[in-house]
Symmetry: C2
Subunit: 232 residues, 2 copies
Amino acid sequence: MTKPYNINDFKNPLFTVDSVLFTVKEGRLQVLMVRRANEPFIHQWGLPGGFVDVDIDQSTDETALRKLKEKTSVAPQYLEQLQAFSSAYRDPRGFSVTLVYYALVAEQEVSCHIDTVDDAKWVDLEELDDLAVAFDHRFIIEQAQHRLQQKALYSMVPVYCLPELFTIAQLKSVIEVIIGKEIQRKSLIRRIDASEMFEALDEKVKSGGRLAQVYKVKPDVDIAHFERNLSM
Amino acid sequence: MTKPYNINDFKNPLFTVDSVLFTVKEGRLQVLMVRRANEPFIHQWGLPGGFVDVDIDQSTDETALRKLKEKTSVAPQYLEQLQAFSSAYRDPRGFSVTLVYYALVAEQEVSCHIDTVDDAKWVDLEELDDLAVAFDHRFIIEQAQHRLQQKALYSMVPVYCLPELFTIAQLKSVIEVIIGKEIQRKSLIRRIDASEMFEALDEKVKSGGRLAQVYKVKPDVDIAHFERNLSM
DNA sequence: CAAATTTGTGTCTTTATGACACTTTCCTGT
DNA sequence: ACAGGAAAGTGTCATAAAGACACAAATTTG
């Protein structure tokens, strides 16, 4: 296989795809971490990801999805590119680039599978400091969290941390966990109405109090975005 | 050179870095395009960019800057990652990934240099359809334009299309060119005050009318962001 | 059946932008 | 020199969406 166009091919940078998979579990924001089976940073914890398989993947999106499915057995409800991180020193093997995605799932969708394996687990973002984290993945997770927080202020993205059917209180809760601050229930209701991306179904009981309306995301709708941020 | 960790190294994807360099010239948004000297798409027009040189570049940011300097002789005033574009088919040589940056410069900074070379030129975005464009660069430029438009609605980023000293009218004009719509002068003034990122200097004459206040960006300030979008 | 609790509604306040009139300053032409 | 035009800059009211909060409705628990 000749490569006539690129004389530098022999020193191409290392290129990987990693994902920061978030969920909200027990009222806290969690990230999926996997134990590394290979050098470098063997036995430390890192983000799920790896090399593109050019025979299987049609794009890096598919690489990210494939790697996430390997670890969780399901596709995340939301997946979007965060950004690439690169440096000559972040990997001891040399110049490396990792294209990072961030993703959301409902905890119920994956935890039953996660609990059966011991090379993958949910890590509470508050407890990440206690973990031996590979590469610059701690920094990457911070960046992903920041982006997710921003998105939560002007879009309905956090709904993808919830199961198919959910209540306003549940949506309010995941938003609050993501942005780390209480929001006005009334403001959320106004946005739910204005977004037109949800469908009201029938009731469901919740702790004390009146029955709560159950919603689902309408099929094939776009994620609603708003002109204004919620205040922080 | 052994690569014990990565058995797929021999079919690593092609990895390049490209930039969409914008400026506002003659009241229109323009992009820097360069004539390709190599296959594939030789002699067609594409984005400035190329392969990482791992002996020179410390990161992909530096790759983007290096390639832009080669074509314009100066560093852009603003540079930020857009996103990676990848597919098995976007390059005839096989699976390829291009990490795309978008950048802004004042037209005055570079046009004198651009005009001396014939393998690089400013292309009016409205006239891009008439050009033979390599790869998926036309699509990429559209994405970059969209991102720039969004940024212009909630940040002061467009100021980096202007020279060091500028007036409110000039800033208003570049914003309007970028978003393709008139904005309220008053709203812009309010944002200039609130941002605290500018310094007022002394006067300067403009077409008819009263002398306009000249501003410059304070040294080392962060780009101001606003909680609310300008309306579209 | 009363108290507690959560859902859902009504409405007033707050804040930044949109719209637009009005004043100020400077240039130009006669 | 002066009138008129033109752009710069200010003042202010309207608008829109979020914040704050009271209150009513529905359901569970003791």
